[in-house]
């Protein structure tokens, strides 16, 4: 068996395992999050009971209970449905999401020779150079390993190609259900996704011009050397993120499955595991879109000031501190950074869902075609002009930019430290000191003069 296939198997297991597990846990996060925002307790009834011993795990057993329930529910199919297409649609919803992770890098290229070396009886963790080239040792015959299932020349285009295939699933599920709500949902889904796909593609063109590559791994390398994409292309970041949320058809873009208008849109007629696949595909789409944003705009596996040879805190030419780290440590840091960034962004996406109201349909289309698309076109133009001007600029401008880029790295480091610190502080703060955490709205009603009305009406 060729080496690259042998290496690919663990990488596939890591990525797909992460996708499935985080997708499952996200269903729980989403519900607990909504409960927190809406002042409820949230799901906590699933329990494993052995004698007196009860295992609840804050409702974490609910995803498992859901899975069991999906399998044992009646698999109902409308009598006039197109049986083939009806069964095909949930499969087509899952496949593109699973294919998409193939090109996303979760760590820097690993030099297997340099991970652990044993000379005589001494085991050591060697360092490697910042340039990142592996010294190939013909005795072991181990090639450098990309921590990416496959490194394609077309990289990001492959992502767009796969993202486009999800539309067909929504369209045929609605059509084959023989239900007018499903059909309306499918019409909305396909028009929305086709529209936002255009914006999605055009929004990153500016970033692609700057990175000069479509390979996702090289994009991350550019960002570690210069500055994160969110600082280089802030407009593109917001448009890309909005278009990705719209592509995954979640609030505020959940018109295709608006429950107050269309029951549940194009998968109204689905039950059992077929519904489960649509439901799960949506949560996996959150994970893949987070991975994509992390890779293109948030530095991928990169950490501020961490390079392949260790930590180097430098602003332009001025070096402040340097700490060499072994290759193994840097690699582990990188992989952890990628997955933690992804999880953070997943959490932000679930938070967005419970913070914003749904758009009206004309607002949705207007936002895409009249706001986001022209802005992303303007972004491409401005990026091109600035790029041209920088090409002609004297060298000190380049040095200035490098200084600014390093400053953004410092900014990220400080910001993340502050956020993590305040999160830890908030986690260990005593809850009883703030009586409004639980029952806040009831408290408001009482303080508004014992009115039976809700605080909204009062």
């Amino acid at each position: 068996m060729p080496n690259y296939i042998l290496y690919a198997i663990p990488k596939i297991l890591i990525m797909v395992g992460f996708l499935f597990n985080v997708g499952g846990i996200l269903t729980w996060v989403d519900r607990r999050q909504s409960a927190m925002i809406q002042d409820r307790v949230g799901p906590n009834r699933a329990v494993i009971k052995i004698g007196k011993f009860e295992l609840r795990l804050w409702g974490l057993l609910h995803p498992a209970a859901d899975g069991v329930k999906f399998f044992f529910k009646e698999d109902f199919m409308p009598p006039k449905a197109d049986k083939l297409l009806f069964s095909l649609a949930p499969i087509l919803a899952m496949i593109p999401v699973l294919c998409l992770v193939a090109v996303i890098p979760f760590g820097d290229t690993v030099c297997p020779d340099a991970l652990i070396q044993t000379v005589g009886n001494v085991t050591q963790l060697p360092n490697i150079a910042r340039s990142g080239l592996c010294t190939f040792d013909p005795r072991t015959g181990l090639q450098p390993i990309d921590l990416q299932i496959v490194s394609l020349d077309i990289g990001l285009l492959f992502v767009f190609a796969m993202a486009g295939q999800g539309i067909v699933s929504a369209a045929i599920s609605g059509w084959s259900s023989d239900n007018k709500f499903s059909l309306m949902g499918a019409l909305r889904a396909s028009s929305q996704m086709v529209s936002y796909e255009v914006t999605l593609g055009l929004s990153v063109v500016g970033a692609l011009m700057i990175y000069g590559t479509l390979r996702l791994g090289d994009m991350v390398r550019w960002q570690s050397e210069h500055a994160w994409g969110i600082f280089v292309q802030p407009v593109a970041f917001f448009i890309f993120f909005a278009a990705l949320v719209a592509e995954s058809k979640r609030i505020p873009f959940d018109l295709p499955e608006a429950e107050s208008e269309l029951v549940s849109g194009y998968f109204t007629e689905y039950s059992g595991m077929k519904f489960g696949m649509f439901y799960f595909a949506e949560y996996m789409e959150i994970v893949t879109s987070s991975m994509l944003v992390v890779t293109v705009f948030l530095g991928g596996w990169g950490l501020p000031f961490v390079h392949r040879d260790g930590i180097t805190i430098a602003f332009g030419e001025g070096m402040l501190a340097q700490l060499p780290l072994p290759h193994l440590v840097v690699t582990v840091f990188g992989v952890l950074a990628f997955f933690i960034k992804t999880l953070t962004l997943c959490w932000i996406q679930t938070f967005v869902r419970w913070s914003l109201p749904r758009f009206r349909y004309d607002q949705l289309m207007g936002l895409c075609w009249k706001v986001l698309l022209p802005v992303s076109l303007a972004n491409i133009f401005v990026t091109g002009v600035v790029w041209l001007l920088l090409d002609m600029a004297p060298p000190f401008v380049g040095n200035m930019l490098q200084l600014v880029g390093d400053a953004t790295q410092g900014f990220v480091a400080v910001l993340v430290t502050f956020l993590v610190g305040s999160a830890v502080f908030g986690l260990f703060r005593s809850r009883t000191k703030d009586p409004r955490i639980i029952g806040a709205s009831a408290e408001l009603v009482r303080s508004a003069g014992k009115s039976p009305q809700s605080p909204m009406q009062a």
Partner: protein, 191 residues
């Protein structure tokens, strides 16, 4: 048989099956999905020819946009299976199938006879089929056809907008004539 040959025959079989499904299916949406299958299989064939960029564009444009638009239009038109379409007399069917089969067979035989790989370079040039190389070709050697084709698309877009705009001013005038006397024009609406 090498892995490459297995891959080729697999993709070719799927493409043929999809093409047949597109032609034979009674339900128009199934026909559109047959087309999608064919498009995907052909993209797979492009991959085996070192044309990754072309395969991606095939997926984005044909599978992700054009087939979806077909399905979209079919959904707008509603649930009418193609019953009664193409039910000609048996003689006409046999004649048509024979004629098409003969032409297809002749084309296959002719292309197989001329398919000696005389003009193939022994090794592909560096970067063949990559995004960078295609971009370089497109903006140097074939710049004029590229710009002309984009101008053609632009004309088509402008034409579509012009056609869909229709005769709006006339309709507005008719509505104001039909409005009952004394009805005040809505705010923001010009007379």
């Amino acid at each position: 048989m090498t892995i490459g040959q297995v891959y080729f025959y697999l993709c070719a079989a799927v493409a043929l099956f999809g093409a047949l499904a597109a032609v034979c299916a009674k339900s128009p949406v199934r026909a559109a999905l047959g087309l999608l299958m064919m498009v995907l299989a052909v993209a797979g064939l492009y991959l085996s020819l070192d044309a990754q960029f072309l395969a991606a564009i095939q997926l984005i444009v044909y599978a992700g946009a054009i087939v979806v638009l077909f399905v979209f239009v079919l959904m707008l038109l509603g649930h009418t299976p193609l019953v009664g379409v193409g039910d000609g007399s048996p003689a006409a069917r046999i004649l048509g199938a024979t004629g098409f089969g003969a032409v297809a067979l002749a084309a296959m035989i002719l292309s197989a006879r001329n398919a000696e790989p005389t003009n193939f370079p022994a090794a592909l040039p560096a970067g063949f089929g990559s995004v960078g190389e295609i971009g370089r070709l497109m903006f140097t050697q074939t710049l004029v056809p590229f710009e002309l084709s984009s101008a053609l698309l632009m004309v088509a877009v402008v034409g579509a907008v012009a056609v869909s705009k229709g005769e709006k001013p006339v309709i507005v005038a008719a509505a104001s004539v039909l409005a009952p006397p004394g009805a005040a024009p809505k705010p923001g609406e010009s007379q």
